[in-house]
Symmetry: C2
DNA sequence: GATGAAGTTGACCGAAGCGGTTAACAGAGG
DNA sequence: CCTCTGTTAACCGCTTCGGTCAACTTCATC
């Protein structure tokens, strides 16, 4: 790619990113036209080809950027250092919401790219995945103290259930198209509070 | 449309339905080629145009069929007559699983069609929606007896949470591509059992 | 086995869209 | 005035699109 891309004003860089995320998240790789991306970014197709030699290069750049900023944001959020499960989920949620405010389509783009089957790009996508795979969930689960939760609960099932519910909630917003991140934050907060009331052991011994 | 479609053998009719559901669920309306659908159905493009005069007609026929068989299956399942909440969810789940076994892409198709924005079809889709909107959830919620559940629980929140978790679980399978409905059923069953253990009041008075 | 209706298709059409290129334009600095 | 940088409209060759049509196959009926 052309390094001059980086000397573009930040807003222009982001406009291109978001245009790419948007178009590639709605269509397959092959059926995502460069002209549509250029239009969405507010520049001409020729200029887009000036910064990225071809479609594949833009696509892989988007994928890389997507992975990088996600990891950065999650790390910076402090979610991984939190001892408390719900605190950690809270921080993680805030990080993801911040990302979605800045790049509304990054989530759907990531999913579609991960499962993209076009041989022109699929191999490169999968190759670069190893470094980004999330293994924090398993560790988090092992470090939980069963005494903190209601007696007899299946902690792994609890965790899966909470994960699915967040995904389902997020998915509902995504489907609806242009998403209202503020509304989403409210819903997530409500979920978190609800989980605390049903999962946490309230009268722990000696407290 | 050509009524001779209905005198086709059932397998051929289903093949066309599934081919349509599949292609239209992966791409926008405009970017879903008739040739691809014909291929997936195992017939020639010319024959597909013999049964459906044009693309729009096929699309709206698919949408109509999708709505109709979903309502039929849900009604027939008996989920709406069940008094018990979890029993009703169980029946509903089984109905949906049956649908997904027969028409693997019908779910994603329905979502995409509902939010399709192409002016050639969007108006017709929205117009035919009124009759299919699901109002059973609200009624179900009103008829619940708080005494059946753990004290102090927010029943509406509980319902939303369960709904989201099922959607999240389903969504995980959908993303992964070709879905294993048997695995899915296992997961849903586990969810149902888990919910019973945490939401139901176990020692109800006098029992 | 001739006939005709019904089912099915390969080949085709004009139009549109694709990835990518190029020649030219606009403007700022010297 | 010139030159360098950023930017684009117009273009190219090619593919794909929705839709048509003439021809081929199949098969029941006479």
């Amino acid at each position: 790619m052309n390094p001059k891309y980086y000397s573009l004003p930040k807003e222009k860089q982001e406009a291109i990113l978001n245009a790419g995320f948007h178009v590639f998240s709605q269509n397959t790789y092959k059926k995502s036209p460069m002209s549509e991306i250029a239009n969405a970014a507010g520049i001409s197709k020729a200029l887009l080809f000036h910064y990225f030699h071809n479609k594949k290069e833009l696509y892989l750049f988007l994928w890389d950027t997507c992975c990088r900023i996600t990891v950065e944001e999650m790390t910076r959020s402090g979610a991984y250092e939190q001892k408390d499960l719900f605190g950690s989920m809270d921080y993680g949620m805030q990080a993801k919401l911040r990302l979605m405010r800045q790049y509304p389509d990054i989530g759907v783009f990531a999913v579609r790219a991960f499962y993209e089957k076009d041989p022109e790009v699929s191999a490169d996508i999968q190759k670069s995945m190893g470094q980004y795979l999330n293994t924090h969930a398993a560790k988090k689960l092992q470090n939980l103290d069963p005494e903190d939760f209601i007696p007899g609960i299946d902690l792994q099932m609890m965790y899966r259930e909470m994960y699915w519910a967040s995904e389902g909630c997020l998915w509902e917003y995504i489907q609806r198209g242009s998403m209202n991140v503020d509304e989403m934050e409210k819903d997530f907060r409500k979920l978190l509070e609800f989980w605390k009331t049903i999962y946490l052991r309230k009268n722990r011994d000696g407290i």
